[in-house]
C-alpha cells in the first residue's frame, strides 16, 4: 500500500511536472489526488480539507521560477505545509534542574503507554537522572507486574501500592521520591476511553494533585479518523503538553499525527517504536511529512545528494540515465559518489519504490570494494559494452581482480538489473529531481 500511494503521488505530481506553470485546473486535479492520499493515510476528513484549502491558496498565488519545475514547486509547498502543521521544529521534554520533575503518561488502551514509560525512564536515566516509575494502572490485569518487570530490566525502581485509588498512589509516590532522592517521577496511568467520564476525571485529578510538569498523550500511529475525538477529549480534560507517537515501525502512514496536531495544537515529542527498550527517537516533523505523503525520506535524500554530488558529474550521469546509455564506467563513478553519501542501505531506504525493488536483495557494503576491483580489471571497451564479455573475458577479469568468476557474473547480472530499474525510475521522473543540479533547497 505504501508503494501504491507512492506511485499515486508520483502520478499526481507528474501531472504538474513539466507543464510550464501552475494553472488553477491542473492544481485542482493534483490536489484532489493528494486529498485521497491524505485520507488513505488516515488524516482526518476535516483536517485534510482544511490542509488542501491552505495549499491551494498558497500555490495559486505563487509564481513558478524558471529554475525549478512546477512539480518541484508543488512538492515543496505540500511538504512545507505538512511539516508546518506537524510542528515545524523538534520539541523536547522539559526536565527541571532542581526538585522533582513529574511526568504523567496518558492515553487509550493499547496505545503503548507502559512500554513508553519504561523507555522514557531508561532514556532519562541515561542523562544521569534518577527516575522512578509509578504503577498507577490498577484496572488492567497484571499491568503493575508488567511495569515492574520492565522496570527491573532497565534498573529503574517501580513504585506501587497495589490496587488502591490511583490518585493516592500518585500522591504518595511523590513523597516516596522525595524521601529516596529520585528527581524524575514517571506515572503510568491506565488506558481509558475518552468517553469514560469517571476515568477521565481520575486522570485529570492525578495531574492536578501531582502538579505535573509534563503530561504526555500516547497515541498509536495506526489510529484512524477517530484520533481527533480522543485527542480532543484528552486535551480538554488534562491539557496535555505533548504527544507520543507509537508503533511507527509498522507500515502505517501516521496521518493521525497530522490530525491530532491540527486539532489540539500540541507538539509531538517522541516516537516510541517496538517493545525493545532501547528504541526511542526524537520526533522529526519533516520525516513524518514525507511518510504521510508516501514519499519516503525524499527530502533527506535530496539534501544528502546535494551535499555530495558533483553537479557536473551528476548532470552527465543524468543525461546517460535518460538515454539509457548508462555503462559500467558510469557505474564505477556512481559507486564512488554513493560512497561519499553514506551507507548504501540507508540511502536506498530513503528512495520511494526502491525499498520494494531491493527488499529481497541483501545489501553488502563490502561488496562495493569487490565491484570496484572487477570493473578496474575490465578494458574500456568492456566497460562501455558489457555485452561483449564472453567466458574467456570473464575468466581474465576474475583473475585480474582477485575475485571468483561467480562474483563477476553476479555483478554483470546485477548491473543488468540495475539498468532495468534505472529506466523504470527514469520513467517515474524521480532521478530527475534527485540528480538535477537545479534542485530547489528544502530548508
Amino acid at each position: 500500500m505504501l508503494e501504491d500511494l507512492s506511485l499515486k503521488i508520483d502520478k499526481a505530481l507528474k501531472k504538474i511536472t513539466g507543464q510550464g506553470k501552475l494553472t488553477e485546473k491542473n492544481i485542482s486535479d493534483t490536489l484532489r489526488e493528494i486529498r485521497i492520499i491524505l485520507l488513505d493515510a488516515d488524516v482526518n476528513f476535516r483536517v485534510a480539507k482544511e490542509f488542501i484549502d491552505k495549499v491551494t491558496q498558497k500555490a495559486l498565488g505563487q509564481e513558478v521560477l524558471a529554475s525549478i519545475t512546477p512539480g518541484q514547486l508543488i512538492t515543496k509547498i505540500i511538504y512545507d505545509e505538512l511539516t508546518e502543521l506537524l510542528g515545524g521544529s523538534n520539541s523536547e521534554l522539559t526536565l527541571n534542574p532542581t526538585g522533582i520533575t513529574k511526568i504523567i503518561v496518558v492515553g487509550l488502551q493499547g496505545s503503548g503507554k507502559t512500554t513508553f514509560c519504561s523507555k522514557l525512564a531508561k532514556t532519562i536515566k541515561g542523562y544521569g537522572r534518577k527516575p522512578l516509575l509509578v504503577a498507577a494502572d490498577i484496572y488492567r490485569p497484571a499491568a503493575i507486574e508488567q511495569l515492574k518487570t520492565l522496570g527491573e530490566s532497565i534498573g529503574v525502581p517501580v513504585y506501587s501500592q497495589g490496587i488502591i485509588d490511583p490518585r493516592d498512589i500518585a500522591k504518595s509516590s511523590l513523597d516516596y521520591a522525595k524521601a529516596n532522592g529520585f528527581n524524575t517521577v514517571i506515572i503510568d496511568t491506565a488506558g481509558r476511553l475518552h468517553v469514560d467520564e469517571q476515568l477521565m476525571s481520575e486522570v485529570a485529578d492525578i495531574k492536578k494533585l501531582t502538579e505535573a510538569n509534563e503530561t504526555l498523550f500516547v497515541v498509536d500511529s495506526m489510529t484512524g479518523q477517530d484520533a481527533v475525538n480522543s485527542a480532543k477529549a484528552f486535551n480538554e480534560k488534562v491539557d496535555f503538553d505533548g504527544i507520543v507517537l507509537t508503533k511507527l515501525d509498522g507500515d502505517s502512514r501516521g496521518g493521525c499525527a497530522l490530525s491530532i496536531r491540527a486539532v489540539v495544537g500540541k507538539p509531538i515529542k517522541f516516537i516510541s517504536n517496538g517493545e525493545k527498550l532501547e528504541m526511542m527517537d526524537v520526533f522529526y516533523p519533516d520525516r513524518l511529512a514525507s511518510r504521510i505523503l508516501g514519499k519516503g525520506d525524499v527530502i533527506s535524500l535530496v539534501e544528502k545528494a546535494q551535499q555530495s554530488f558533483d553537479d557536473k558529474e551528476a548532470e552527465k550521469l543524468e543525461e546517460k540515465f535518460r538515454k539509457n546509455k548508462f555503462d559500467l564506467e558510469d557505474f564505477l563513478k556512481q559507486i564512488r559518489m554513493i560512497k561519499k553519501m553514506g551507507s548504501l542501505s540507508s540511502i536506498i531506504g530513503m528512495i520511494p519504490g526502491m525499498n520494494k525493488a531491493i527488499k529481497n536483495e541483501q545489501i553488502d557494503e563490502s561488496a562495493l570494494v569487490k565491484v570496484e576491483a572487477i570493473i578496474h580489471s575490465m578494458t574500456k571497451e568492456e566497460r562501455r559494452n558489457p555485452k561483449i564479455l564472453n567466458g574467456n573475458r570473464r575468466k581474465r577479469i576474475s583473475r585480474g581482480s582477485g575475485t571468483s568468476i561467480q562474483d563477476v557474473n553476479r555483478l554483470l547480472k546485477q548491473f543488468a538489473e540495475m539498468q532495468k530499474m534505472m529506466s523504470k525510475l527514469n520513467q517515474k521522473g524521480f532521478m530527475n529531481s534527485v540528480l538535477s543540479k537545479k534542485n530547489i533547497k528544502f530548508s
Binding site: M1, D42, A142, A143, E145, L193, D220, Q225, D251
Partner: protein, 312 residues
C-alpha cells in the same frame, strides 16, 4: 446453539451515542423532509463514511451503490435515503450473500475446537481471550486457554487473572519460552483432558516483522500435527480505532495464517472500525465478534444491522 446471547445494543450505543446523533443530524439538518440526491447530500454521506474509517475507495463504492438503489425509489425523503444507505452498508458486510450472520462454531463435531488469537500489539487480544473463555464456559463448555504470548512482560500474569475470572484452566510457561511449545501443550491437554475448546493467545506482532509472522505459522503447524482440522478458527483481533492500516494487517496476517474471522475491539468508544468493510470486501473474512468494554461480558456476536444502525 447460539453461544453469545448477549447482544446488547445499548452497550454498543452508549459510547457511540454522541457521534451517532451527530451523524444523523449532519444528514438531516440539510435535508429535512424531501430531498434529492445532490452534491451536498453526497458530500455529507462521504464525510460520514470516511470519518467512520471506511476509506475513500469503499466510500465511493457505497455511494455508487446508494445512487443505483435510489434510482428505483419513488420516495426520496431523507429518512428513506438513510434507510437505503443502511441497506447498502449491511449488504457490504456480508462475505457472501447467502451466509447467515448468526455465527455458531461447530464445536460438537470438532472437539477439541481450537481457536488461535492473533493481532498486532495493543488491540486487546488477551482481554478478548478472557471474554471468549468466559462466554464459552457460560454456555456449559469446558475451556482451556494457552498463554503463548511468552514475550510481553507480565502477559502470563494478565491471562492467568482472566482464566481465574472465567474459571477455566490455563497453560503457561515462563517468559521467553517457545510459544509453539505452549500451543502444543495446550492442545495436548485439551485432547487428554477432553476439553471442548482450546483458546490460544499469542504475542502482539506488527505484521511487517517477518520473523514474528514465521513464528505464528510455526504455532499453526504444531497445532495441526496434533489435530489435523485445527486450528478450527484463527481470529484476527483488530482495534476498532485503527484506520486504513487494518486492511494491511489483515492482508499480511492472511499470508502466513489463514484468518477465518475478525474480532473488532474497543467499539464502546467513538471509533467505528469502518475499515472492516474493506477487509470483508477484499479478503472475504467475516466479522465474528465485537468487543465493547473491558468487562468479561463485554463481547458480543457481530450483528451487521445493529452495527450499521450505530454507524449512521
Amino acid at each position: 446453539m447460539k453461544l453469545f446471547k448477549n447482544i446488547n445494543i445499548d452497550k454498543l450505543k452508549t459510547g457511540l451515542n454522541k457521534t451517532r446523533e451527530k451523524i444523523v443530524n449532519k444528514i438531516s439538518e440539510t435535508f429535512s423532509g424531501k430531498a434529492i440526491i445532490d452534491e451536498t447530500f453526497i458530500d455529507r454521506i462521504e464525510e460520514v463514511l470516511i470519518s467512520a474509517d471506511l476509506g475513500v475507495e469503499m466510500t465511493e463504492l457505497v455511494i455508487e451503490d446508494l445512487k443505483t438503489r435510489m434510482k428505483k425509489e419513488e420516495d426520496r425523503s431523507t429518512e428513506r435515503m438513510i434507510e437505503i444507505l443502511k441497506k447498502a452498508l449491511v449488504s457490504n458486510l456480508s462475505v457472501n450473500n447467502l451466509e447467515s450472520f448468526d455465527y455458531t462454531p461447530d464445536i460438537e463435531s470438532n472437539k477439541p475446537f481450537v481457536i488461535l488469537i492473533v493481532g498486532v500489539n495493543g488491540v486487546g487480544k488477551t482481554t478478548t481471550v478472557g471474554k471468549l473463555a468466559y462466554n464459552f464456559r457460560q454456555s456449559g463448555l469446558s475451556v482451556i486457554i494457552g498463554a503463548a504470548d511468552t514475550f510481553r512482560a507480565a502477559a502470563n500474569e494478565q491471562l492467568t487473572i482472566w482464566a481465574d475470572r472465567a474459571n477455566v484452566e490455563i497453560v503457561s510457561k515462563e517468559k521467553g519460552s517457545d510459544p509453539s511449545a505452549v500451543a502444543y501443550e495446550t492442545v495436548s491437554k485439551a485432547i487428554s483432558q477432553k476439553h471442548d475448546i482450546a483458546i490460544i493467545d499469542t504475542a502482539g506482532r506488527l505484521h511487517n516483522k517477518s520473523n514474528l509472522m514465521e513464528e505464528l505459522s510455526k504455532i499453526k503447524r504444531v497445532i495441526s500435527k496434533l489435530i489435523p482440522h485445527a486450528p478450527d478458527e484463527i481470529f484476527l483481533v483488530l482495534d476498532g480505532a485503527t484506520g486504513q492500516n487494518a486492511l494491511i494487517q489483515a492482508q499480511e496476517f492472511m499470508k502466513t495464517t489463514k484468518i477465518t474471522g475478525l474480532i473488532i475491539t474497543k467499539l464502546d468508544g467513538t471509533a467505528k472500525g469502518g475499515v472492516v468493510f474493506q477487509i470483508i470486501k477484499k479478503l472475504k473474512i467475516p466479522v465474528r465478534y465485537i468487543g465493547v468494554g473491558e468487562g468479561i461480558t463485554d463481547l458480543q456476536n457481530f450483528d451487521p444491522v445493529t452495527y450499521v444502525n450505530v454507524l449512521c
